[in-house]
């Protein structure tokens, strides 16, 4: 079976609010598949439907070829979930959290203990083995949640903003671990706000907004298709704006800078320098962030 998750016209309403509005996608075995989007785009709701925690309103959804509403127990047994909200058990130590969780998956006690030790090492928390959850930093908690999600050796890992609020060291450790898991054949579905994270980890991704999927593709293809290969940023002055209009170069506003997406930054910069007297010019590679902002807009989402 090549498709591990298949969604057709998947819809979710909360009372009168449409959270997910008829999205279709497939996740293939062994890939890292990302969901990007501003707050309220419907990413978390989609994750909850996949992980059998929230019934859908309409459309079809299969995970491991089964309907999450008909076979939640079988599906959940093969899945690991890292929720957005930290819900470790404060009544137990790190190791206790893992062994207690293992029991929910019918893992025998001796095996659970062995796996807990392996996983604590995997997320570099061996020294915190017997420490209560309260005493852990935010980064340690996220790492422990990742370890907890792996306790049943899941074929499919669902991560809802796995690195939210972490320092760069902790993020890098989690990225590294996720890459390792993918190399071992796991399928990973994740949501994130961090576009560098998505670009770095995801084989394919979708960008969602207002419950709909706007685009689907590999990070590189999306950048090429929607933005181009390079970006020139020039400080916004009246002269520059007038000059760009004269030269018929299309641009976008970004704060106090003007952005020009192009295939050849060199030509644009030359034209700017020759004709426009720019104060400050920056050239850089186009990134997923440019695609994201182009598709979902620059205004604040809440």
């Amino acid at each position: 079976m090549n498709e591990i998750i298949e969604a057709r016209n998947l819809t979710k309403n909360y009372n009168d609010v449409v959270a997910v509005d008829g999205i279709s996608f497939t996740v293939r075995t062994g890939e890292v598949f990302g969901f990007l989007g501003p707050n309220g785009a419907g990413k978390t709701t989609t994750m909850k439907m996949i992980s059998c925690l929230s019934p859908r309103t309409g459309g079809s959804l299969t995970v491991f070829g089964m309907d999450p509403e008909e076979h939640p127990t079988v599906i959940k047994a093969k899945m690991g979930v890292v929720p957005q909200e930290t819900n470790l058990d404060p009544d137990f130590s790190c190791a206790g959290n893992l062994t207690t969780y293992a029991r929910y998956f019918d893992i025998p006690a001796a095996e659970a203990k062995a796996r807990a030790d392996t996983l604590l090492a995997f997320v570099q928390l061996e020294e915190k083995r017997d420490v209560l959850i309260d005493k852990l930093s935010g980064g340690m908690k996220r790492r422990l949640i990742l370890a907890r999600a792996l306790i049943n050796n899941p074929a499919l890992l669902i991560l809802d903003e796995p690195t939210i609020g972490l320092d760069p060291q902790a993020r890098h450790l989690i990225w590294e671990r996720l890459k390792l898991l993918q190399a071992q054949g796991n399928t990973i579905v994740l949501t994130t706000h961090y576009l560098d994270e998505a670009a770095r980890l995801c084989d394919r991704l979708v960008i969602m907004d207002k419950g709909k999927i706007l685009v689907l593709g590999t990070p590189a293809d999306l950048v090429k298709q929607y933005v181009g290969s390079e970006i020139v940023e020039v400080e916004m002055t009246d002269e520059v704006l007038a000059c760009l209009a004269d030269l018929k170069i299309s641009y976008e506003h970004a704060g106090d800078m003007v952005q020009i997406a192009t295939e050849s930054a060199r030509d644009i910069v030359k034209a700017l320098l020759d004709h426009c007297k720019p104060k400050r010019v920056i050239t850089r590679q186009a990134t997923l962030e440019d695609v994201f902002l182009k598709l979902t807009g620059r205004t604040l989402k809440e």
Partner: protein, 261 residues
């Protein structure tokens, strides 16, 4: 379509939630065993020996023997009720434990059933901690009084179910104070606990028997500890079983409605 009265699909996995709570309880057993133990002493001294000295006897029974089963019954009620209101609410809302558990093969029905069974177990533990104290004071009659232990489980399950319904509909932890004061406190006072029901006006007697669950636990407990068995025991038992089934089913479905959206 699942309604509030559907039979919830609970599986044996509920035992894993029960076991989780037991492990936490055992870890802090010193804190947990002490209160019922001390409570037994306090009641016996203050009410039994204090007030009892003046009251003497009720219907030919020494006052302290009269209230001993009531103290056990109140403990059955309080243990399960407070475990499944404040205790369960903290696990559900503040610790997000239920969210974490339903991401595993357990369903929300399993989780709530496990919580209810745990509430009933708390009642059993309390009674088991109190019985030796009463035994030492010689105010209850053995071996019949040992039947209080299975009664504690059944009565505990009933109060766990009632408590979980409040937990399922409460907007926040503060509003759980309402059932604690408006439901539990009157029961402690008026369920035939510290004075016989017959002292109440007849109309109130009917109301108390019809709607205050503690009345039935106290009545059965007293039959066991005096001992003074009578066929009325079966009526009380039927009332308790019926109410237990209704509220346990309702509480699981209300919780599903609250948590699965």
């Amino acid at each position: 379509m699942k309604t509030l009265w559907s039979v919830p699909p609970v599986t044996r996995r509920a035992a894993k939630v029960w076991l989780r709570n037991l492990h936490v309880f055992v870890k802090t057993w010193k804190v947990n065993f002490f209160p019922p133990f001390v409570e037994a002493f306090l009641y016996l001294f203050a009410i039994g020996l204090g007030i009892g000295t003046y009251v003497g006897q009720i219907d030919g029974i020494p006052y302290v023997n009269f209230i001993a089963p009531a103290i056990l019954a109140i403990s059955i009620m309080n243990s399960a009720f407070f475990e499944c209101t404040y205790g369960s609410y903290v696990r559900m809302y503040y610790q997000k434990s239920f969210d974490a558990i339903i991401a595993t093969p357990l369903s929300i029905e399993d989780v709530i059933a496990g919580e209810l069974l745990w509430g009933a177990t708390r009642s059993v533990i309390s009674v088991a901690a109190m019985l030796p104290v009463f035994a030492v004071f010689g105010v209850i009659s053995f071996p019949m009084a040992l039947f209080i232990i299975p009664l504690a489980f059944l009565g505990g399950l009933m109060f766990a179910g009632i408590a979980m319904c409040f937990t399922a509909i409460t907007p926040g932890i503060d509003t759980l104070n309402y059932p604690a004061f408006l439901f539990i406190t009157p029961m402690v006072l008026f369920s035939g606990t510290f004075f016989p029901l017959a002292l109440l006006p007849l109309f109130f007697q009917y109301i108390v028997v019809a709607i205050l669950p503690l009345t039935h636990i106290v009545a059965i407990a007293r039959m066991f500890t005096l001992p003074a068995l009578s066929p009325v025991l079966l009526l009380h038992l039927t009332w308790i079983v019926g109410v237990t089934i209704i509220f346990c089913v309702l509480s699981i479905n209300l919780m599903r409605k609250r948590l699965i959206t």
